[in-house]
């Protein structure tokens, strides 16, 4: 937690709390709106000098004000990026986390959320989500998905009730790469700070030959790619061109006069240039050992960081994987319908799904994120397989041997890293967005519910005020609350 920025911002806080000027009017901008990431101390409101009141919680609680500060106090904090803090405080200002830790001075008049007995987790991040930004949702051409999002829709509310504050929707891979996918936040009831990034990921299909099937059988979730080499060749050609472009660009930047005119490239090539520049993440699906080895070689050859999805046989491919710069997005229990090993394999070859797939990746030092079996929010009644059970999926990684820390990171900080939004979300760190779950139990306890959800520092969900789960008591040995059966 101790970073240079901590000192800087703590200093700022001190300045805010003890500034000598009389109270200045609050800024006109909505305090719920996330500010730009660069700090602007000059525009921040200054507070009255009153040393006594700064840390006086009781006083603050008794006087609700329109203070721009919110403090969640006396809670067990799971920052993910750092060890657990007991009886700690998170201070929020203008949608960002201003401070995290123990013995943090609280500005006078700050809104106080009592976190006694509660657990604070970063909001969960769903790497694949459907319809949490509204139905009929699509963004083609110049359209921005953020401009279509419906922050009233009930699936967003359900996602928040499940602790998911950030999600990516859309995107499907092609050999030439598709720049697609919208990353946004569940800013229920507001479009302020909803969009994070459009066309967020470069989806590449690299010679995957087996269709992806649901663990429940039925039609494939994703079709098989052509088994010929042409698709792979397309990808590699584009990458070669992207490498050439980057060389030419470097030469042009170094000496424009000598290089002549600035280099140009077509859109597909430019997408790969962005990927090589590290601007957008590259997602490639690879399930079997052969596919995983292929992707690792591709990563090695072009020094391209790749996030591998659906890596069912990663546990058996670790020596091959070591060649590439890889991260993983997987479901820890994505397995064939009848539990059988894949057909057409030599019996001597280790293959198929293993519960310790995620754990073996962790032990080999890889970053992995977890996604649920289904990217939807299902109201059909089969529990534990959709977005609403995201933490349950992380539990399955732990069940297979992953550490508790990696389990929590797999639905918070790791997806943020894989999506390249970890400067904004994914952990409870100073300067990050205040996307916080106030939970009644530990984040990965299967009984745990988010009681309060904050996104960009704004309360967007409260269990008691929402009808979804307000009848379920924290102590399950006490009856369900209310007359939930009467109104049928």
């Amino acid at each position: 937690m101790m970073r240079p920025s901590l000192l800087m911002i703590a200093g700022l806080l001190g300045m805010l709390a003890f500034a000598q000027d009389p109270p200045a009017p609050l800024p006109e901008s909505n305090p719920e709106t996330a500010p730009a990431s660069d700090s602007k101390p000059a525009s921040r409101p200054r507070r009255r000098r009153n040393a006594e009141s700064t840390s006086s919680q009781a006083k603050a609680e008794s006087r609700p004000t329109d203070s721009p500060f919110t403090a969640i106090v006396d809670a067990t904090i799971w920052p993910v990026s750092a060890p657990v803090i007991r009886r700690g405080t998170i201070l929020i200002f203008e949608g960002k986390i201003l401070d995290v830790g123990r013995d943090i001075p609280i500005p006078e008049g700050a809104k106080i959320i009592d976190g006694k007995g509660k657990h604070l987790s970063p909001g969960f991040i769903a790497m694949r989500a459907l319809q949490t930004f509204g139905g009929g949702f699509m963004a083609r051409g110049d359209e921005s998905a953020a401009d279509q999002a419906d922050p009233y829709n009930i699936r967003m509310q359900m996602a928040l009730a499940s602790g998911i504050t950030t999600a990516m929707e859309g995107g499907s891979p092609t050999p030439t790469g598709t720049l697609a996918g919208f990353i946004g936040k569940h800013t229920y009831g507001s479009i302020d700070g909803l969009g994070i990034r459009d066309r967020a990921v470069l989806w590449v299909q690299y010679g995957t030959t087996e269709p992806l099937r649901s663990p429940f059988g039925g039609d494939p979730i994703a079709p098989a790619a052509p088994s010929d080499q042409s698709g792979k060749q397309q990808t590699r050609d584009l990458l070669k061109r992207a490498v050439e472009f980057r060389k030419a660009r470097a030469a042009f930047v170094a000496d424009p006069a000598k290089a002549g005119k600035a280099p140009t490239a077509d859109e597909n090539t430019m997408n790969f240039v962005k990927a090589l520049d590290g601007e957008v993440p590259v997602f490639v699906r690879a399930s079997t050992r052969t596919e995983l080895a292929d992707v690792a070689r591709l990563s090695e050859e072009f020094n391209l960081p790749i996030t591998v999805t659906d890596a069912t046989e990663a546990w058996a491919s670790l020596p091959d994987l070591a060649r590439g710069r890889l991260t993983f997005m997987l479901n820890p229990r994505q397995r064939p319908a009848d539990g059988a090993e894949p057909r057409n394999r030599l019996l001597t070859e280790p293959s198929g799904w293993r519960p310790y797939n995620a754990a073996s990746l962790e032990k080999a030092g890889y970053t992995f994120a977890v996604q649920p079996l289904s990217p939807t929010i299902s109201t059909d009644g089969l529990p534990g397989r959709d977005l609403m059970a995201l933490p349950i999926e992380a539990c399955y990684a732990i069940r297979g041997g992953a550490s508790d820390a990696a389990g929590l990171a797999s639905i918070t900080l790791n997806p943020a890293r894989l999506l390249k939004i970890d400067d904004r979300v994914g952990s409870l760190d100073i300067g990050k967005d205040a996307d916080i779950l106030v939970m009644d139990r530990e984040p990965l306890d299967y009984r745990s519910f988010a009681e309060i959800v904050l996104v960009n520092g704004r309360v967007v969900y409260e269990k008691d005020k929402s009808s979804f789960f307000n009848h379920i008591p924290t102590d399950r040995s006490t009856p369900l609350k209310g007359n939930w059966w009467r109104d049928r």
């Binding site: 009930i154 109201t379 399955y396 069940r399 009984r447 009808s467 979804f468 369900l480």
Partner: protein
């Protein structure tokens, strides 16, 4: 009961043909020279008695010999010791609604609207990937039943998930009659039985015929009549229902359907049905179910999303908190709708949506055993019961826990160290 059974067996022998009989696995009582196994230092949850912190479970042959505190229970010399330090020892789980261990394409013979003459036992497989996975998830007993394509799919079988031969795994046949009163059987168009009125008539009519058949045979067996009625294979197994030796697993999911289950199967024919595939708002029937002592196996849907209230109502929790007592509630998967190895997850989600933890554990052990009238043999850790035991790394319904060792009929069927972690 024993008297009746033996008399029944005698009658059958006299008839010269064993048409209907309860096939029970041999399950011999342990002998002194049977191998002995002792699970020590675990946190033992016997289910029917309080938890034991540092416990011992001694197994001889296929049966549990003793359960108790470490130091208080004598561990026979020469016993194979399984150290369960930091582990949780619970009975193997039972599942009352599934289609595991059989070929799915053989589950439904839908030529007739009712098929009480069909039986699952003829095509049960053992040691399939699905039963192996189920075993590794601590599931040791299954009531595998026919599909719900018709109003009576046939008779299911109670079987273990692990054994050396097929005869070894079959606990009892027939396990239960499968009746479906609405939903899936409605697919046939045009004929009688396309709607619920016709379907329930067919069910009642079939039960009535079976009842007449049973009474005729009973009269003959008692000596009240002299001429033996004609044998009818169609109704032979159904006699066991009227003798109350086996229950009916009823695919009954909605409020109205549960009503007809209560009205027809329980009240009109006096049989032992249990609500299987309990879903949606069927829990509104709990006062009546409770009064009649009818148990409920809820699932595979774990919650009912009530659109009018915008509320996620946990189905096992709803049945429980509306009044079904803690001994009468079960949880199922309808595998492969939910994979068989995720039966514990069904329990997990039942707790998440409001069922108390201890009740969820009962709902996977002693309660389903009671539903199929095998509570004297299965479902808890008690001396004399089948040695079906799962050793977990933590509370079994926490999805972060997995099994380390699973014992079926006294033998280690699954060992994570030996076999690799399967699930």
């Amino acid at each position: 009961m024993r008297h009746l059974l033996s008399r029944f067996a005698l009658v059958l022998a006299l008839c010269g043909a064993a048409w209907a009989q309860l096939i029970q696995a041999p399950s011999p009582m342990p002998r002194a020279d049977d191998p002995v196994l002792a699970i020590v230092h675990g946190r033992v949850c016997p289910i029917e008695s309080p938890e034991i912190e540092d416990g011992v479970v001694v197994v001889r042959g296929r049966k549990i010999e003793s359960v108790g505190k470490f130091g208080e229970v004598q561990i026979p010399s020469g016993a194979r010791i399984i150290d369960a330090t930091n582990r949780v020892v619970v009975p193997g789980f039972l599942e009352m609604h599934n289609h595991t261990g059989v070929s799915l394409s053989d589950l439904n013979d839908m030529v007739f609207q009712v098929n009480p003459d069909l039986r699952v036992v003829d095509f049960v497989q053992f040691d399939t990937p699905a039963t192996r996975n189920a075993l590794s998830a601590g599931v040791t007993t299954l009531l595998t039943i026919p599909g719900s394509g018709t109003n009576m799919g046939g008779f299911g079988v109670v079987m273990k998930t692990w054994g050396r031969t097929r005869d070894d795994i079959v606990v009892r046949f027939p396990g239960a009659l499968k009746i479906a009163q609405a939903g899936n059987p409605e697919r046939q168009g045009g004929d009688l039985g396309a709607g619920r009125m016709g379907m329930n008539w067919i069910i009642r009519n079939t039960l009535k015929e079976a009842q007449v058949y049973h009474l005729a045979w009973e009269a003959y067996e008692k000596g009240d009549t002299k001429v033996a009625p004609q044998r009818n294979l169609r109704f032979e197994n159904m006699r066991l229902l009227f003798k109350k030796e086996i229950p009916i697993a009823v695919h009954t999911q909605w409020f109205q359907v549960v009503q007809s289950t209560i009205r027809i199967l329980k009240k009109e024919f006096g049989l032992d049905p249990f609500v299987d595939h309990g879903e949606w708002e069927g829990y509104l029937n709990t006062p009546e179910l409770k009064a009649l002592g009818m148990p409920v196996a809820a699932g595979p849907r774990g919650f009912d999303y009530d659109r009018r209230q915008a509320k996620f109502i946990g189905i096992p929790a709803a049945y429980f908190w509306r009044g079904i007592d803690r001994n009468s509630i079960g949880i199922n998967t309808d595998a492969p709708v939910i994979p068989q190895e995720e039966l514990p997850l069904q329990g997990t989600m039942a707790i998440r949506y409001g069922l108390p933890e201890d009740v969820a554990l009962r709902a996977l052990t002693i309660n389903p055993a009671r539903m199929i009238k095998l509570e004297k043999r299965l479902g808890s850790l008690e001396p004399g019961k089948d040695a079906d035991i799962a050793i977990w790394t933590g509370f079994p319904l926490d999805p972060r826990s997995r099994t380390q060792v699973v014992i079926v009929d006294g033998e280690v069927g699954y060992d994570a160290d030996r076999d690799g972690i399967r699930f």
